[in-house]
Symmetry: C2
Subunit: 397 residues, 2 copies
Amino acid sequence: MTATTADIRRENSYAVVRAIHADTPASRRGVAKATGLSFATVSTICANLIDQGIVVESSRERPHTGRPTGLMTLDGAYGLVIGVDIAETYLHAQTFNAALEPLTWTHLPLNPSSTAPEDVVDPVRLAIQTEAARHPGQPLLGVGVSAPGVVDTSGGVSIFAAGWAWHDISLLTMIADGLDADVHLDNPLRLLAVAESWTDPRRLDQTYVVLNLGTGVGAGIVIDGRLFRGQTNSAGEWGHAVLVSDGRPCRCGSTGCVEAYIGAPGIIATLATIDPDSPLLDPDDQTATIAAIAAACGQGDPTATAVIAETARHFGDAVASIINVLNPEVVIMAGWVSAQLGDVILRQARPRIDAHTLAVPRSVVDFQVNHADSITNPVSLGAAALALERHLTGVPI
Amino acid sequence: MTATTADIRRENSYAVVRAIHADTPASRRGVAKATGLSFATVSTICANLIDQGIVVESSRERPHTGRPTGLMTLDGAYGLVIGVDIAETYLHAQTFNAALEPLTWTHLPLNPSSTAPEDVVDPVRLAIQTEAARHPGQPLLGVGVSAPGVVDTSGGVSIFAAGWAWHDISLLTMIADGLDADVHLDNPLRLLAVAESWTDPRRLDQTYVVLNLGTGVGAGIVIDGRLFRGQTNSAGEWGHAVLVSDGRPCRCGSTGCVEAYIGAPGIIATLATIDPDSPLLDPDDQTATIAAIAAACGQGDPTATAVIAETARHFGDAVASIINVLNPEVVIMAGWVSAQLGDVILRQARPRIDAHTLAVPRSVVDFQVNHADSITNPVSLGAAALALERHLTGVPI
DNA sequence: ATGAGTTATTCTGACTCTTGACATAATGCC
DNA sequence: GGCATTATGTCAAGAGTCAGAATAACTCAT
């Protein structure tokens, strides 16, 4: 509950920062419009932010006549944030400056079969230290870490990591121990939503859903521009909604979960059902199989087409449900499977989605497929953005 | 976005009103604790509210020693609100005072087969006028109306009424025309959530879901004590989430919807599938059939038991999904079907819910079944509460 | 050059909010 | 009647937002 004037200032300050980043380089006038704040307020807040070094006036734009517009940018030199994406098979740590521009990264393979906590924690710490050492003299504002499973951020405990069956491991404490930086932990589905919230000015106050399609499946839910975490930070586990009653077993222990059908292993299982001997199957490499399906589908291969049709049918049902329940403005498909198959799945699922959504929510929802760019890992970006958010809202502004 | 100090005051004032109602009769100290506001602030706000006539100091409590505690109540004499529940077969208009205590009501049958807009609007207007005339000289603060379907509150247009196939009917305008009162419109699933939010002090800032099980099925979603409406006021259409791929046809035009299985007609369809000649079936009366199932189930009738088991299986799947997606603190079952069958369905669905939810959201969620009391129609209460909310937040406090 | 015209920002004063500290009110008890 | 005790008003301080006045930084015509 907003109580005191200081809270208003913090909120508004933060809104200004996001507005500046979303529309870089931003004029004060534009920020006032985007945030709904008065001009005077934006001016004082910007002066403050510039004092603090968070924002710099980077350039000026000359209109035809009159005083030039001062254009502001987040100041990369303010400091660095590191985002770490812990996945089943790899670990990606990426350093960003305070303007969330990607700088350097460290990529390490993880052995999926050695899953003791220290087998993960040690490489993470190593990667963070490596990245930090690459930028000597620059202040490290914070580190964000993405770990799969349900993560209790307040206690920083990785309570349930689906692939690893960890239980009550205090991952945060283990990672942060002795590290001279604020470390924040969350799971990839929410961090993808955080990443999205920093990339598009329209996201500042929209209500939307970021679907993460990868090995795991989940949804980051953003309401009025704020990440919705639920009671215990486990909202968005759409991947474990029931799609088929008593259907396929899921790695979470339940059956018929959405993830069991449209997660990468689910798609591969569908392929194996249709043609157990398909040359597209690479038993040792999910990524390769998904890539093979994508390529074959582009060439009209009937097996691949059938796999996509089946996947799109499941995806359509599951997405229709979430649209009916949440009435979002946008549904965004992200994650590495989306990057490869998102467009074709969405195209084929559209009729299904249309058939299973009510007219009103259907008519107002937009779709977007996020393709990863080759430089930035979006989960790392989200983790870094989380660290930046925490730093900014913690810093008295 | 909270911008100015006036917004803070409005928010806080409103929080105080809700806190007083939730814990009637309430001490200032208790309110301060419940709202998190300082004592001084609560004191000034209460003085304001008492000035306005919204609150009265109704009694005092004598502690062992010291000045007695002044206990405050919402002042019923402040005015009246009327809540109207438009259902398929009846119309229930109920008058409440400003403390949301039920006073009088008017119940009219509606002929489900005559569904032109004026066949509904005229009785609604008549009922409102009848109720208003019963309390002469008392100010009417507002009228809330519940209409089935997807309702755009801002424009007040009933865009889609599932049972009636209305399209773009400006129900609000038709009802309010010439009536000397502020009329507000929403749909029953959200109004049940509003009603719940006014009945229990714990609901003030909880995140929860109110499942409406009746002829139609839906969910009112409340996040941090605030009703979540989605982009176009159609959030919560859980009844039209896909439960069974290509399953039973639903009256919304889609297939396999949750409502088609656990709404009253769905339950009856399940019964008819199990035993087409069951004596429990009353082809002309949904309510009677559901009541008969409830009674028979209590006596161990195998057909009724099988119907409940099947319904509980569907219910369990659908509820598990919403728990995984929203991670709520409480799931509340409301609506007339819940009142009759809620307990037994919930009991039988629990293992299913447990099997299909992740450990974290499962371990923190509570369940509650709302049984209607014989006096108050909960949808009317929610409609009245909506009108009261609108009045209070509109009034400068 | 220079003043007029234009547009962007900052400054100022008015008003409002919350809060901690202090003052005041209403009791029971001795 | 005075004292201890608890519950509420009151007040000044600190902080925010905002509308509008004042200032800054340009272009352009003269």
